[in-house]
């Protein structure tokens, strides 16, 4: 074992498919480099399992640079592990101590059913976007950037909301499995820009309606989502969505 490497005990949720019951299975992992990412540690463990003729652990991952939002792992009671502002692929093993026990579970929500092991079906988010998270325009040549003046303040806020990668950490950490941080970010990014205005009030109604249909819970403003969001999406967006929805229902 080279200098600084660690031995850990992993407890990972194993579940064959959506119909069967799952359980936490213990795996000792040794000689883990502190420079590995959490996902690389899983790759090493999986190679080990394959060599032993066992089924590797299924987990979602894609870009491994914190922008795709696929690596949904609930690590020691927190989405994406103990550090704030990062996804699981950006979590390094130096954040853990030698001898530590690490519990890894999938996102838990009725709207995010487990497909296998740590992989959940997040297509509920896609259906919410399809319900209104877009603008209807005929695309052509890009117009001059200055033809639509936007205040710096609004442009910044819209950009911050647009940083949402749809990873589902907000739903995972919310005690009510509410998707309101996600939906409000997707409502806000368009509500703040001139291009989003024509459909502003139908959008918020349709997206909220779809969110309710998917079986997500209700926001109780605990603020856990904002803390755990890897992109730092603000609770202000939820207030904006509440506001727009009220106006939409009252006047549109």
């Amino acid at each position: 074992m080279s200098d600084g490497n660690m031995n850990l005990t992993l407890k990972v949720w194993r579940q064959k498919n959506g119909n069967q019951k799952g359980e936490l299975v213990t795996y000792p992992v040794s000689n883990v480099s502190p420079d590995m990412s959490f996902l690389e540690m899983f790759d090493v463990l999986n190679e080990d399992l394959v060599e032993k003729g066992q089924e590797p652990i299924a987990f979602d991952h894609d870009c491994r640079e914190g922008i795709c939002g696929m690596c949904s792992m609930y690590i020691n009671g927190r989405p994406h592990g103990p550090k704030e502002g990062i996804t699981t692929c950006q979590l390094h093993m130096r954040s853990f101590k030698d001898g530590e026990t690490v519990v890894v579970e999938p996102w838990r929500a009725t709207a995010f059913p487990v497909i296998k092991d740590l992989v959940v079906d997040r297509s509920a988010f896609d259906r919410i976007i399809a319900a209104g998270g877009f603008i209807s325009v005929n695309t052509g040549n890009a117009q001059d950037a200055n033809s639509l003046p936007i205040s710096k303040d609004d442009a910044d806020k819209s950009f911050e909301a647009a940083a949402c990668i749809g990873c589902g950490a907000c739903v995972a950490t919310c005690k009510n499995a509410s998707a309101m941080l996600f939906v409000s970010a997707k409502v806000s990014q368009l509500a703040l820009l001139p291009q989003g205005q024509p459909e502003r009030y139908s959008r918020v109604q349709n997206m909220v309606e779809q969110m309710d249909k998917e079986g997500f819970g209700n926001c109780t403003n605990t603020g856990a989502c904002e803390v755990e969001c890897p992109k730092g999406i603000s609770l202000e967006n939820i207030a904006r969505m509440n506001r727009d929805y009220l106006v939409a229902k009252a006047a549109h």
Binding site: T220, T222, E236
Partner: protein, 229 residues
């Protein structure tokens, strides 16, 4: 209206109702604590009884009493519906949860705190409101002139029991934590979040959640330990 779904059965609509009834109940508490505070100004209880008499006979206040009960019932009914939906949204919980690092315990315990407040409210209404309105619980207490609603005398009798005093004080601890989250949360649910005003709302909410329950809790303590001595 581009969508057919009803505002009041939607998730956001129900949150709105929770928020607006919450703020209404918060304003009620100001009136209630104001009337209560009369006993600190005049320990003979005359001023308090005058205020209580006004509250019990003024037609506007009596009409608001109906709105108040409606507000309390709406707040409770919505919370039950929302809680059941929230539980259905995550039937299988986590083996490990580190929620303490990302949120305050009282913000996650509003249902429990609210239930404790409701239990207290039932006891409290039996002690004073039912007695004043209907006089059915053992009739007029000893030392009270027949034909008057001597709330002050009623209070002296009720708060002579140290267990009752303890229950009232503990209930105010629940109320304090419920308000600590509820005050600012109500504004957020109504969509009132603004970088200029939200810090002030949060600060006022924090002070309100401490000052109002403390004033309420001082009342049974004052009656038990000072006035009744």
């Amino acid at each position: 209206m581009s969508s057919s779904s009803s505002f009041f059965t939607s998730s956001l609509g129900r949150k709105f109702v929770m928020g607006i009834t919450g703020i209404f109940l918060i304003t009620f508490l100001i009136v209630h604590v104001g009337v209560n505070a009369m006993i600190f100004l005049d320990s003979s209880g005359e001023l308090f009884n005058t205020a209580a008499h006004f509250m019990g006979t003024n037609w506007l206040i009596r009409s608001m009493e109906i709105v108040l009960f409606a507000g309390i019932i709406l707040h409770i009914v919505q919370s039950i519906v929302l809680t059941r939906r929230n539980q259905a949204a995550r039937p299988e919980g986590y083996a490990v949860s580190a929620s303490a690092v990302n949120s305050k315990w009282y913000s996650r315990s509003m249902g429990l705190l609210g239930t404790l407040i409701l239990m207290f409210l039932i006891v409290h209404l039996c002690h004073f409101w039912v007695e004043a309105r209907f006089g059915i619980w053992g009739g007029i207490p000893e030392g009270v002139e027949a034909g008057t609603h001597d709330m002050f005398a009623q209070m002296k009798v009720i708060f002579s029991n140290p267990i009752v005093v303890a229950v009232y004080v503990l209930a105010m601890v629940s109320l304090s934590y419920h308000l600590m989250h509820g005050f600012q949360s109500a504004f957020q649910s109504l969509g009132l979040n603004h970088y200029k005003y939200t810090p002030a709302i949060k600060a006022i909410g924090k002070w309100y959640s401490i000052i109002v329950p403390v004033l309420f809790a001082l009342m049974p303590l004052y009656v038990h330990f000072v006035i009744n001595k």
